[in-house]
Symmetry: C2
Subunit: 590 residues, 2 copies
C-alpha cells in the first residue's frame, strides 16, 4: 500500500527539465506496446506526459507493466529526455520520461467509458460514473474556471471593502413565487424550516445591522419542476450595499465582470455597459434579456398597415394590439417548409399565425400580398430596410406578446442563418433597467412582483401605486450577456409603511403579512439605511466563461431534471424510525 | 426619501482631514444638547465621529435636530475641525465635524436595548432583535474577524494550488453517528434527501475524480440535541489531497494557522506544532485535546501505592485499573468545601469518589493518610514533586476513566486557581495523532469508528483488525489549541476491499453496506489514489481568534439550543397543501 511520492507533476514537464531525475504519480491515460518499448501516457491534474519502459534495459519493469490497464494509479521514477518524435499537440510533447522504477499503487476495473474528451457516452452513464466523467480534461477545465471565478470574486469584493457573511440554510418558509424545500424539525414537531430560495431578507437584515457592504457566494434552493437549465440547488453571488444608488451597484458589478473576463479568458470587456430600459428592450428586441450581438430589430408597422383591408391586422388594431415585424436579412432562401416550422415555433410563444413577405428577384411573395397595395409594400420595405433576398416576419397581437413572438423568432432565425455561430466568441454585456414593478397574473387575477416584493418603486411613480399599478416602474436592473440573464437586483424598499403597502398591493392580507413577514416589517422600523443589491447566477457566469450550454457541466454533482443524483442514488427511502422521530408519516400509509 | 450620499466615512476621519468639507451617512449613536451646542456621535461600519450643530449659526438645523433620537439614520454635510476637548479613547477623537446641512434619512423606534458594547441584556432579547445586536461594535468586530478568516483561507489554498469545489447540500441519507436533517422529495414521493453532516464521501469522490487538491468552506448540519456550544448548522474548512501522507496535511494546516494568526491578530505562531500520540495525551493530560499552556500533569502512582492496605486502591488494581494523581500547586488553600465541590465535579465524569492529600506546614492532611505509611507518602511527594502548599488529587479507576477524571479536574483547578486567566493570551497549538481506529460502544456492544469509517488503519496494524480491533491505530489526527479541538482528519482507506471490511467490522451487514455505501465501494474500484484530508471547525477557529466562548457570537443568525431562530420565528407551521405536495402528513393527525 506504500507508494513513492512525486516530486513534480506530469503536466508541467517541459524541455528545460531534460536530464532531471523525477518521481511522478498519476493515472494511466493510455498504454501502447510498440515493438521493444512500452509507452504510457500518465495523467494528473496538471496534464499528461509520456513515460517509457524499455524492456531491453529493464525486463523486470516490462514484466510488471504487462498488468497495467487504463486508469490504474502508478508511481514512476525516471529521467526526463527529449523525444525523438515530438508531439506538438500537447504541452509536454517535446519530452518523455524513461522509467527507472515504478509500481502500481491501485488498480482499476475497466471503465464503462474512456476518460477522454471525445466520447459519445450518454449523459446518464456519465452522471452515474461522475468520478470518471470528472477526470476528463474538458471537465477538469470547467472546474478550474469555476474555481478561478470564486477566487476573483472573493478578491474583488474584499478589495472593495465588502464583508462576507453566511446567512442561514435553515430558515423560515415564506412561499412566494417558487416552492420551498422543507426540512422537518424534530425538536419542534409539526414545524418546518425551509431552505433559502435566496438570502434576500437576511441580506437586507444585514444592512439593518450596519454591515453596509455584504457579499456571499451562497447555495440557493428551489423545488420547481426542473427545466434542463435549472438545478434544485444553485449558487448565487449575493451582494448588498447601504447608502448607495443604482449606479453604485451597476458600476461595482461591471468592475467584477471586467476582472472575471480578464483573469479567466484574458478578454477585455468594455465599460460602462449599455443601459437599456425594459420598455426599449421589449420594443426593439422583444425580450427583457436581448442578445445585442446582432441587429434584426423589431419595427412597429401598425401605422404602415393601418389602412389595409386585412382583417387580422384590423381586428388586432381595433383591440388595441400592434402589428410588428422583423427583417430577416438573407431569409428569402428559406423554403415554405422552413417558414411553416417558424410558424409552429411562433405558436409556442402564443402566436395564432405568422404573416411573412419574401423579397426576391424584385418581386414580393407573401400570402397577404393581396391585401397590401404598392404604397404599403413600399412603405414597409423602406421602414424595414428590406431588399431582395430578405424575409419579413410579421406578428399581430397584443403589444408585448407580438414583441415576445418576434423576439423569439429573431433568435431562432439567427440560429438558422448561422448568425449565432458568427458571433459566438463575442460577449455583449448590458443592463436592462426601469422594469415594471408589477406584472399582472391573468390566471390568479392579481398583481405579482416582477422581481420580488422588496423592490422599491421609483420615487416619482409611488403615487401611481393606488391608481395605476401596471405603470409603476421599479428601481430594478438585470445584467444580460448574449441573450442570457446573469443576474438581477434592485434598490430595496427601506420604509416600513411602504413595505406593508407593497405586500397589500400583492394581495396579502394583514394577518398573512404579519405571520410571514411581520418580523421584517418590524425590523425596518429601527433605523433602516437606504440599500440595494444584486444576485448573480454563478453557475450561469461559469457556463458563459466556459462556453457550455449545459449547467450540469459546471456543477460537480448535479441532479437530473427529475431531481435524482444518479451517482449516489438520492433521494432515497429512509427508515420509519427516522420519520417517527420527526413526527411524520407518509400519506400513502394508512 | 432622497439623501445626500457620503464621500467619506465616519470612522476613518483623522486630524489630517481638518478643513475638509465632507458628507457622512450613518446612525445616531448618541445625542447630547449642551447649552448652545448639539453633539451627535454618528456611527457607520468604520467607527464613529462627533458631529456638532451650532444653533447660533444655524437655528434651522438645530430645530430639525430636536427630532433626532438614537439609531436614526442621517446624512450630514460639514467641515472637519480640531476638537477643543479631544477624546483620546476613540480614533476620531481629535476632530469633530461642524454640520452645515443635514437631514434625517430614516427614523428609528426606541430600541429595546442600547447599541452599545456594555449592555446586560438577556441573550433572548438580543437574538430577537439580532439586527440591533449586530450593530454593536464588538459584534461588528467578530464578523470582521470571520470575514478575514474566510479571505485568508481562500488566498492560502489558492496559493497552494487547491481548487474549490461545491459539494451537494441535497444528498443521500446515510445515518452513521449523528442524526441527519431530512428533506422530503416532492417529485419522488416517499423519498428523502439529507443535508450533509460533512461532505466526507463527496470530497473523497473528488479525489477519485482527479482533482487532487480540494478545499471548500462549507455548511454542515447535524440534527442533534444541542449543547450550548453546538449549532444545527455549522461551517467547516474542508480539505482533501491525493498522493500525500499525514505530514503533508499537518504541514499544510500549520501554514494556514500561522497565516491566520498573523493576519488577524498579528500573533506569531511557532511551527512545527508538537505532535503527541493519543496514548500520551491521555496518560499525561487525561484528554485527547489537552491544554498544554500549563503543567499539572497526571502521574500514574499505581506502583507507589500497590503495597498499601487501602481497599479502594487494592480493588481497582485487582480489576486491572490504575491509581493516578495530579499535583495542584498551591491547592492546599482550598477549603474542605472546595474539595467537596471538586468531588462532585469528578462524579460527573464517572468518579465514585475523590481521594486527596494536602501538604501544609510540613504535615499531610488526607482522609486516606492512615492507609499510607511514611515511605509511601515520601515516594508520592517525590514522584509528584509535591511541597508544602500543594494539593494532590487521586483517582482510582479503569485506566482511561481515571485519566479522564483527572484531566477534567486539572482544567477545573486551573480555572479556580487563576491559571487559565494567566495564560489566556497564549495559544498552544499541537497535533494529537495515532488515535485508536475503534472505540467500544458499551451500550450497543459493538465497535464504532473513533473518527469515521473511512479512516485508514495504520499499515502495520491491519493484521490486528481481525484479532484485536481495540489496539488498531488509525492514521488520524486532531488539531488542538488551548484544550479545544479545531479540527480533525485522517488518511483514508483507498482500497475497496478494505473499506468493505471496515464496514463489516463496524457491524454493518453486506445488504446495508450495499444500500448505503455501495456506490462508494464501487467507485473505489476505478483507480483511487491514496488520499487524506482534514475538516477544521471554522466557527471554533473564529471564536478562538475573537476570544469569545459563545458560538452565537460568531454566527450571524444563530439558533437557540432548541433550534429556534428567535428573529424570524423559524421553524414554523406550513400550510397543509405544502405537506400534501410532499406526500406527507403529521403523525398527530388521525
Amino acid at each position: 500500500m506504500l507508494f513513492k511520492k512525486r516530486n513534480t507533476k506530469c503536466g508541467i514537464l517541459r524541455q528545460e527539465d531534460e536530464g532531471k531525475k523525477i518521481v511522478l504519480n498519476g493515472w494511466v491515460a493510455s498504454r501502447r506496446d510498440l515493438g521493444g518499448l512500452i509507452f504510457i501516457d500518465l495523467r494528473d491534474r496538471w496534464g499528461l506526459v509520456q513515460i517509457v519502459i524499455e524492456p531491453e534495459n529493464r525486463p523486470d519493469l516490462a514484466e510488471k507493466a504487462k498488468d497495467i490497464r487504463d486508469e490504474f494509479v502508478l508511481w514512476a521514477e525516471g529521467t526526463v529526455r527529449s523525444r525523438s518524435n515530438p508531439n506538438t499537440k500537447i504541452p509536454t510533447g517535446l519530452i518523455e520520461v524513461v522509467v527507472e522504477d515504478f509500481d502500481i499503487i491501485n488498480k482499476s476495473e475497466l471503465p464503462p467509458f474512456p476518460v477522454d474528451d471525445n466520447i459519445e457516452t450518454g449523459e446518464e452513464t456519465k452522471l452515474r460514473y461522475r468520478y470518471l466523467d470528472l477526470r476528463r480534461p474538458v471537465m477538469q477545465n470547467y472546474f478550474a474556471i469555476r474555481n478561478k471565478t470564486y477566487q476573483v470574486c472573493h478578491r474583488y469584493f474584499e478589495k472593495n471593502d465588502f464583508i462576507e457573511v453566511e446567512t442561514p440554510v435553515l430558515m423560515k418558509s415564506t412561499p412566494e413565487g417558487a416552492r420551498d424545500f422543507l426540512v422537518p424539525s424534530r425538536i419542534s414537531k409539526g414545524k418546518f424550516y425551509a431552505l433559502p430560495q435566496s438570502p434576500q431578507i437576511f441580506k437586507q437584515i444585514l444592512m439593518l445591522s450596519g454591515f453596509e457592504r455584504y457579499m456571499q457566494i451562497v447555495k440557493c434552493f428551489r423545488d420547481e419542476d426542473l427545466r434542463s437549465d435549472r438545478q434544485p440547488e444553485f449558487t448565487q453571488i449575493d451582494v448588498e450595499m447601504s447608502f448607495i444608488d443604482r449606479d453604485d451597484i451597476l458600476n461595482l458589478i461591471e468592475g467584477l465582470i471586467i476582472e472575471l473576463w480578464k483573469e479567466v479568458l484574458d478578454y477585455d470587456v468594455a465599460a460602462p455597459f449599455m443601459r437599456m430600459s425594459y420598455d426599449e428592450a421589449m420594443n426593439r428586441f422583444g425580450s427583457d434579456k436581448p442578445d445585442l450581438r446582432f441587429g434584426m430589430e423589431i419595427s412597429d408597422i401598425t401605422d404602415a398597415v393601418r389602412s389595409t383591408e386585412f382583417k387580422v391586422f384590423n381586428d388586432t388594431i381595433g383591440e388595441g394590439g400592434i402589428i410588428a415585424a422583423i427583417n430577416v436579412k438573407g431569409g428569402s432562401e428559406m423554403s415554405r417548409k422552413n417558414i411553416d416550422e417558424l410558424t409552429e415555433f411562433a405558436k409556442k410563444y402564443g402566436a395564432k399565425g405568422l404573416a411573412w413577405m419574401k423579397f426576391a428577384n424584385g418581386e414580393v411573395n407573401s400570402p397577404i400580398a393581396k391585401f397590401l397595395d404598392e404604397a404599403v409594400i413600399s412603405q414597409l420595405k423602406s421602414q424595414l430596410n428590406a431588399q431582395d433576398g430578405d424575409l419579413i416576419l410579421i406578428s399581430s397581437d397584443k403589444k408585448r406578446r407580438a414583441q415576445t413572438i418576434l423576439g423569439a423568432l429573431r433568435l431562432e432565425c439567427a440560429k438558422r442563418l448561422g448568425i449565432m455561430d458568427a458571433v459566438k466568441d463575442k460577449f455583449s454585456f448590458h443592463w436592462v433597467i426601469d422594469f415594471p414593478l408589477f406584472e399582472y397574473d391573468e390566471d390568479n387575477e392579481r398583481w405579482v412582483a416582477m422581481h420580488h416584493p422588496f423592490t422599491s418603486p421609483m420615487d416619482e411613480d409611488i403615487a401611481l401605486l393606488d391608481t395605476d399599478p401596471g405603470s409603476v416602474r421599479a428601481k430594478a436592473y438585470d445584467l444580460v450577456v448574449n441573450g442570457a440573464e446573469l443576474g438581477g437586483g434592485s434598490i430595496r424598499i427601506f420604509n416600513s409603511d411602504l413595505q406593508q403597502k407593497m405586500f397589500n398591493k400583492l394581495g396579502l392580507g394583514d394577518k398573512e403579512i404579519e405571520d410571514k413577514f411581520g418580523f421584517f416589517i418590524k425590523a425596518l422600523k429601527y433605523g433602516t439605511p437606504p440599500h440595494g443589491g444584486i444576485a448573480l447566477g454563478l453557475d450561469r457566469i461559469v457556463m458563459t466563461l466556459a462556453g457550455t450550454d449545459n449547467i450540469r457541466d459546471v456543477i460537480a454533482f448535479p441532479k437530473t431534471t427529475s431531481g435524482l443524483s444518479l451517482m449516489d442514488g438520492s433521494p432515497s427511502f429512509v427508515v420509519e424510525e427516522q420519520l417517527k422521530e420527526l413526527g411524520l408519516k407518509l400519506l400513502s400509509e394508512k
